[in-house]
Symmetry: C2
Subunit: 462 residues, 2 copies
């Protein structure tokens, strides 16, 4: 199979340059003012799919941002891999903390700095370049279908309908996604599970207008103060979440399972040093790896209210807001948790304020059995290119649509991620290591090969 | 003295038009981008002082925004009144809540709508028009000095030095200020006391960068969550403030004093209806009038951190901030309280975050004895123009520089305010009733007359 490596080595510079071009498009799906850039990015992805050798590729409109779909059918009898990725990115703010423009990619110390470098343009594009490599070397072990959406960062709100409407066309044997991270290049790993998500927004209204904090202060409920009290009450002294029923469906893992998770290489001092925190924080009686992997959480993603400008304004605000999201573990159901949260939040608000709770997107947790042929093919591909077996881990993040694939298409998913936890995804100075980018392009074809072979003999469906 | 009334009646339209002109200048002192408008406003005030008949008037530069000073000396033997006011205004945001432009004054239902209409351009300008009235009718009962500053809304940071440098020039017998409110036109009142202020800003830092709330959530202290916990802990279940030592110097008022305060006309249902709140909120065992008048408070004026834009961003923020101010009552000292707050806030922050506490401006509480000649002159002036005795009240707001006048110039202050609590000062749709504006212009000359007379005989210093 060395021809694969030869081809990608020969085209290294172009593969990198093409990614930088994609990173220059500010495809921020959450902010409507980037709508045209998102559309422009979709067109670019389509062009790259055709260039890579897809038989067909098109930009499929949705009620929101478009989905790009392309496919390379080698032989109907061969197994089919459906590759999923997303070309949209998180907002870049706070801009002042970036060392270089979020949409002016630069390569420094072997790292590509740009919004989306890792999440998910860099990882998604590895698949397009791997496909090109397989096609141009005349060695495509299975059929490949590629679906790249533009709304992953806003909850994939229109993907469900697309899957429903295209069941036939999307028929496959497995979904392959690179939108997760591994422990390190020295310790390659594969995420065997992901957390679900419930994302809420709350609005607390006190008086019907902003008031002078001297004239009214002390006599009227301050919505910012009340919001703080409500949020503070969401964790008890052991950092357990206090929403009634929140843990009802959470299953305790066995001692063996917890040991496996804690056996993963992890250096707490390194972790604290990297984040420059005096101490970690979290649920009592669980380790950091458990807190991020197998335990549900509740986090404030944003809070605002009153005067936040320069100087001092003595105002008692009329409203205060917060964005609060919960990560869910297997068996918790996003809609149920959102409902429990809303009910609880409304129930604990005092009579002196009004509260409004709305749910943003959610998603269900997923687990990929490590003994499945697809996981095994991924593990073997890693072994081939890294020279060692991958460690199975539980990812703390969420890719809500994976549960959707299972529900709508009846397909399992393999998470073959090449990111690193310090890639600053969703943060200023997001980066992706050049080495990981090319390691991904090198590894992906082997997944296709081993997955096809798992169907018997030479990979032909016989 | 009817000639005063005749003159102001004849010039009613112009008096109003001139005020609107002043309100069109966005003299926001807190926001540096309005620096030139603030300077322009100072020039306008100087011109009005000369036009009103001041012997001299000038714009005095300071390290910040300028102070305008003018004087009309009738006879060195007569007593002198030092009028204080401010031409700067609060920021206008949130702009979207204004029914008309904050700096495009409109008159509707007998009310002038604009930022600064009441606080303090409208009230300050009454004194300039009252002075013009006295001068043009040849009837000025005492010497009048007028000092109008441009930094009241940002803590009068440069006024102290100005007072020090101009002690001689500012020699007077009393300070007269119209920057407060009365209960209503039917129930005229005079504020016999004001609360002090300590205004703090806090910054809570968790990890050194924004993080993905899935990858790190549950394992790293979220500064927004911690900030909420810290703020929530600032009031106990009885809404007493928990900062150690905060109440040490607060003196309980006698039953008689509390009765006098609670005898003031006040309709709790009206109050709740006006603010559209289900219930009031505040310190246990005190009435609303006591909570805003004689008790110290702690209010969140602003809070922000994380993602506050459109849609959903799953970020665990690096920093969260809040502006928190405390209103102080007699004997509490602003610097001491600021120190106690900072010490307490730092002491309760967990090791997993860093906190930074900075103090904005502060001010000391003041009380004006109701038996003083100056207060009596004000009461008599109100009686003359309103036909009834004013009710002495305790104002909840703060005019920090009043304590400064006493300390630096050795002068007491009379608070002859014509605003109403529903004037929305510091809020969208600030207004000032046209009737109150002219009632002020009508009343002020009588204060000068009665105050001068209190010095004996015909008001001549003999």
């Amino acid at each position: 199979m060395s021809s694969w490596n030869e081809y990608s080595t020969e085209n290294k510079d172009r593969f990198l340059e093409e990614l930088l071009g994609l990173l220059r498009i500010p495809s921020v799906s959450a902010d409507s003012k980037y709508k045209e850039d998102v559309a422009r990015c979709a067109e670019a992805v389509k062009e790259h799919l055709l260039k890579a050798g897809c038989d067909t590729a098109e930009v499929c409109p949705t009620a929101g941002h478009p989905i790009v779909y392309g496919e390379k059918i080698v032989d109907a009898k061969l197994p089919t891999v459906l590759v999923y990725g997303h070309y949209d990115v998180q907002p870049a703010d706070p801009l002042e903390l970036w060392h270089s423009g979020p949409f002016e990619p630069v390569i420094k110390d072997g790292k590509i700095y740009a919004r989306g470098a890792c999440d998910d343009k860099g990882q998604m594009f590895m698949h397009i370049k791997a496909l090109e490599t397989m096609v141009k070397t005349g060695n495509v072990p299975c059929n490949v279908k590629v679906m790249i959406e533009g709304e992953e960062e806003v909850g994939s709100v229109n993907l469900g309908k697309f899957l429903q409407d295209n069941k036939e066309r999307l028929k496959a044997d497995i979904v392959l996604v690179s939108d997760t991270s591994m422990i390190s290049m020295e310790h390659p790993s594969i995420e065997s599970g992901l957390r679900g998500l419930s994302y809420m927004e709350v609005e607390v209204t006190g008086p019907n207008r902003d008031l002078h904090s001297g004239v009214y202060g002390g006599a009227v409920a301050n919505p910012a103060t009340i919001l703080c009290k409500l949020i503070a009450s969401m964790h008890d002294e052991n950092n357990h979440i206090t929403v009634p029923g929140f843990y009802n469906k959470v299953q305790e893992l066995s001692a063996a399972e917890r040991k496996a998770i804690n056996d993963a290489p992890f250096d707490l001092d390194e972790y604290k040093k990297d984040l420059q925190v005096g101490d970690v924080w979290g649920e009592k009686d669980y380790t950091t790896l458990e807190r991020t992997g197998i335990r549900p959480t509740l986090e404030v993603n944003g809070i605002w209210g009153g005067y936040t400008g320069e100087g001092a304004k003595t105002v008692l605000p009329s409203k205060a807001y917060a964005k609060i999201s919960m990560r869910l573990v297997p068996h918790q159901v996003s809609d149920e948790i959102s409902g429990l949260f809303a009910k609880h939040f409304e129930s604990i608000a005092p009579a002196s304020v009004k509260v409004k709770v709305t749910a943003h997107h959610g998603g269900e947790p997923v687990v990929t059995p490590t003994d499945s042929p697809a996981y095994q093919a991924a593990a073997k591909a890693i072994k081939t290119t890294f020279g060692k077996d991958p460690i199975p881990t539980r990812g703390g993040g969420s890719i809500p649509i994976i549960a959707l694939f299972e529900r709508t298409l009846g397909l399992k998913t393999v998470l073959l991620g090449f990111g690193l936890d310090n890639d600053n995804i969703h943060s200023p100075n997001e980066k992706y290591d050049v080495a990981n980018y090319f390691k991904g392009i090198e590894t992906i074809p082997y997944f296709h090969k081993y997955f096809a072979e798992s169907f018997g003999g030479n990979g032909m469906g016989i």
